[in-house]
Amino acid sequence: MKLQLQHLRKQYGSKTAVDDVSVNLTPGVYGLLGANGAGKTTLMRMICGVLKPTSGSIRLNGKTIQTLGERYYTHLGYMPQDFGFYPDFTAREFMLYMAAVKGMNKKAAKARTEELLELVNLHDVAGRKIRSYSGGMKQRLGIAQAELNDPDILILDEPTAGLDPKERVRFRNIISDFAKEKIVILSTHIVSDVSYIADTILMMKQGKILLQGPMETVTESMQGKVWELVAAEQDAEKYSRNLRVVSLHHEGSQVRLRIVEDEAPAPDAHNVEPSLEDLFLYHFSEDMQKEGSENDEISG
């Protein structure tokens, strides 16, 4: 199974949402990281065939989406970001409806629906209208529908957005269960989610793939750029304003800071082992400042 994105580009007027993206994907979990507006959702929509690229092509095992037609979609499971459900359907009806849209036969659809509802822990409430579901329950139902046809390519766009920490852990585990022998592309701006389950990181910025590599080595480029230092409170505030501060820990009258910078922020700062979060902050600190409140989630 090989999914090739070749020179993918999507232009909206003068704005380029996705700019010349070329990636070869084989089975594994890909964490697609980027700030809001980086082009992640646009890229995923193009992969899912619901948005036409301005140029470039998507090939599955060497054949383009256009050549494969309906057959391409049988390989696909997609959970879009913030997608609405049909509030007047029960979860079971919704699953059976999606199974019909995916072309599954009735018997297989029923069996798979029950299996998945059990797996995402919605079986007991499967007869309830979706309008009564919490955000977390809807997200679980969202991933269950994406898995209905046991797809080879599973695309999850911000699947953990809006979930509380407990729900996020539960969700990550569900995704890990589904990920075996599939190409899973998981888009998020919540770094901790991908750091737990992704094998490969794809980092997007302004429509381009900024960085890609295995989870274990992707942070290597950050060696020597992550610093820790202990400073007085008034100095800590100065550092926060002027530098990329990943975390702050108050220790009595002192503050322990983790800073991502090319140069040592202070003579007594020492290098520490870089993490994915450091890498993200290094590249997206400006975008994150614009996003305001979303910063809390990234550093949390």
Partner: protein, 410 residues
């Protein structure tokens, strides 16, 4: 495909807004078609009879006059009225025209006033409104040919220059008229009269159905479900067809429910009497050789086609617009602006087009001699509307399908 249609149908049906809109629309229909029953009143010498009591009384009166309108019968009837007018004691005068009073009216006229009006109008000039009191002016000393008079009146209508009919059109209408059976069988047709005169009120039902199906495609875009269904195997193929079929199925079933109410109320109260009587007993110059039932069914067929075409228009817009509200902003004027467009005749492009608008197409216009000529081909209003709305549906439904198929999630 069956499951997809079922689920799409359920999607439409389950919405609370569907139930509210349908309940309101059914209520409006019931009120419109029930009002003539509640408001019905008929007078006799003892006073006024209302509602079902009045209807029963009127039907009793009609029993006496449910006869073939032969020339002999018409002549005798006219003479009877003339004899009543011959006695000055029977006559009243309102400063404008003479009329019969007391027993002469209540016994000689009231039980058959509609019939007398029909006869009188047959001899009057087109578009001139006359009543039984025009009958004494007729010379029936040597009898009368009721049907010859009808034919002459029709020729006057066809040759009226303001109608602007071509020779081909005149020939078309003459041919149609020649198929009208004579003599006309007269009788009671109260229920059918109510239905025929209120057909255009079904526009509210058409609107309600358009409101309900407006979100079929645009609702998916609005709620963000478009991405997930379009990435399914059948999202761009069978699902699109299923959505269209479900919308049409809903539209037809919901409209049929309205029709059942609209027809059941008057036909229960007034009875189905008259179903096999000719349309000409409600206006002698009507050219269509049809009974009330046939005329009603033909017009109903046209109305169903208008409904299907309006459903197709709604779906077409729904597939191309981002929200159901935008769809309705376009659909509502299409349905309701023609209500305020009054044709000032039956000729000229403007009038001919106005008669083809959805609202005007709900009206049967049985006696209007409304025709459309394309080269050597002449089409009456029913055929023209049928062709137009079938063509519209055949164009718009595939366009709706393509619209959803090509929709870009963004």
């Amino acid at each position: 495909m069956k499951s997809l249609v079922k689920f799409e149908f359920l999607k439409i049906l389950r919405k609370k807004s569907t139930l509210i809109v349908m309940a309101a629309s059914l209520l409006i229909t019931a009120v419109f078609f029930g009002l003539p029953i509640l408001q019905f009143q008929i007078y006799n010498q003892d006073g006024v009879l209302r509602g079902t009591e009045g209807i029963a009384y009127e039907k009793e009166q009609y029993a006496e006059i449910s006869v073939p309108l032969t020339n002999e019968y018409v002549t005798d009837t006219i003479r009877e009225v003339q004899e009543l007018f011959a006695d000055p004691d029977n006559i009243g005068y309102d400063g404008n025209e003479q009329f019969l009073i007391d027993d002469a009216y209540w016994k000689g006229i009231a039980p058959r006033e509609d019939l007398l009006g029909l006869i009188a109008k047959n001899y009057a000039a087109p578009n001139v409104s006359v009543g039984y009191n025009a009958l004494p002016d007729l010379d029936v000393s040597n009898g009368t040919d009721f049907y010859q008079a009808r034919q002459e009146k029709i020729e006057t209508i066809l040759n009226d220059s303001s109608k602007g009919l071509t020779e081909k059109e005149k020939e078309y209408w003459q041919n149609m008229n020649s198929q009208v059976e004579e003599p006309f069988q007269y009788g009671y047709f109260g229920g059918w009269e109510v239905i025929i005169s209120a057909f255009e009120l079904l526009m509210f039902a058409v609107l309600a159905i358009c409101i309900v199906i407006a979100p079929v495609f645009s609702g998916e875009y609005q709620s963000g479900t478009d991405a997930v269904i379009l990435s399914g195997k059948y999202g761009k193929t069978k699902l699109t067809t299923a959505k269209i079929l479900a919308a049409l199925l809903f539209g037809i079933l919901a409209f049929t429910l309205h029709i059942l109410i609209a027809f059941a109320l008057p036909l229960t109260a007034f009875g189905i009497d008259g179903w096999n009587l000719p349309l000409q007993i409600n206006g002698t110059t009507v050219p269509y050789p049809l009974t009330f039932l046939e005329g009603t069914l033909i017009n109903l067929g046209v109305i169903y086609l208008v409904l299907i075409a309006m459903t197709a228009l709604t779906l077409f817009l729904s597939a191309r617009m981002k929200s159901p509200y935008q769809v309705l902003i376009v659909v509502m004027p299409v349905l309701f602006i023609p209500m305020f467009l009054s044709p000032n005749g039956t000729s000229g492009l403007y009038n001919l087009l106005v008669f083809l608008t959805p609202y005007q197409s709900l009206k049967p216009n049985f006696g209007s001699y409304l025709s459309y000529q394309f080269g050597p081909v002449v089409l009456d209003a029913f055929t023209m509307r049928t062709v137009l709305y079938v063509v519209l549906a055949l164009i718009l439904l595939p366009l709706a399908r393509t619209g959803f198929k090509k929709h870009q999630v963004s």
